[in-house]
């Protein structure tokens, strides 16, 4: 049973790793680099919070 579990772990690892690589490729070819790297630190705070004491 343990050896079967070990083989199953290898299988799951390979499948999920391939899925992530596929999704990475799909996203990188579907969206522009400017959009993907458009996150800005503190953006929401600056918009949503009035900084008053």
């Amino acid at each position: 049973m343990w050896l079967s579990l070990s083989y199953a772990c290898w299988g799951i690892s390979v499948v999920l790793a391939l899925w992530m690589l596929y999704d990475w490729f799909k996203v990188d070819t579907s969206y522009s680099e400017d959009v993907l790297t458009s996150s800005r630190e503190g953006e929401l705070e600056a918009v949503s919070e009035k900084h008053r004491i």
């Binding site: 690892s13 790297t37 630190e41 600056a46």
Partner: protein, 467 residues
Amino acid sequence: MTAAVDTVGTTASGDRVSLLRVLGPAHVWALGVGIVLVGEFTGWNFSADKGGSLAALIVCWVVGLLYTSVAMIDSEVTSTVAAAGGQYAQAKHIVGPLMAFNVALFLVFAYTMLEVSDAILLGDTIVAKAGVDGLTHNSFIAATIVVLAWLNYRGVLMTLNVNFVITAIAYVSIVILFFSVSPWTQGAVLKLNELVTPGNALPYGWIGVIAAFQFGIWYYLGIEGTTQAAEEVRSPARSLPYGTMAGMITLLIAAAMTWYVCASLMPWEYLGITPYPLWDAGKLTGSPLLENLLFVATLLAALASANGCINDAARAWFSLGRDRYLPSWFSAVHPKYRTPYRSILFLLPIALAFAFIADLNQAITFSILSGVLQYTFMSINIMMFRRKWPLGSIRRGYTHPFHPLPAIVLFCLCVVTYFAIFLGFGSQLIAMVAFYFLISLWFHFYRYKFVRRGDQFSMPWPKPQGY
């Protein structure tokens, strides 16, 4: 390539893709306690090898003081600097870019090495349970790291929901063990008065207590990781202090229960070398149910810790990319899952490589060293924060009491811990400091010219006092 963001409705504002604000205080608790709780299942007990069972208890409380200071200081600063990267963002705004770069590397090293240690622990625990010839831990290590990376890739909400459940189960297992051994009665199951006597309580004297600090860190290592969720919690000013302080209280209780049960069941000579103190405690009760419960809980604690570490390391790496301290390629956010997917994928093979080639002790030591360097920074950081922006000058979600006492206590305990690490792993300490020195030179003389200097300071604060 086209920007089809609007069609999938994943943007936060306009055509920008940001991390998703979906977390609450329970997720912050799950992140912090999830990362740390594995330390009760293995790690803390090596302090008994350094100084005996009583030394393990002394460092439990003294290091608890260190981490209470960490939690209080962190809660105040993070409730004000609510950005992914946690202490990195704090350092950038309060100390400066070079400190921030170093702090981010401390974070990535501490969490990646802790993730590696967790995966090795999980693999070794399964192999020990199976007792089958030819079975190695490699497949279990690979599955742990890849499955958890996949979970992190798919979204932070599910990642921390899972962490909440498995952390809670692991925690409850400690409580069940504690009450199953009749803790109010000595002699029936527990034999503390026989196992810890005046003759063997401190076998190496007080220098043993100092040496025990190195592994006493394991009771609480990683609670400061809650701050990495700052950009993904709905209300950072409320959730982060609440989740962090609740987590610290939870861990202090767990640490005390763990020491009491284990020190009452095992002699310090064995307690100090076993890799599975709680699982062994379950075995020693003679109950198969408790034995199996603690086996499963050990696995769940390792999983929860590795899961939180992937989350935190990826966010620190992502933040470095976003400020161009590293190539901005790393700052990509997945338009559907809203996670730092490239950072998660980049760190995945690094964790796998270390897990396959590194020794557990080496990985743990590198993690602890990076953690202590970070805590030293935090004690200096809070002094500068209070001096530059005194109370009343900016809004704080939480104000920690007794300043500057927690910062002074934290700094002094860090110095003691460096000495303890030097006693056991002096060459690693020197190698690590040399590494950070060299990488700082690289950042100062080469990388910093790529940074957009005005863009990196994002908090809408007034000018600091004295500037």
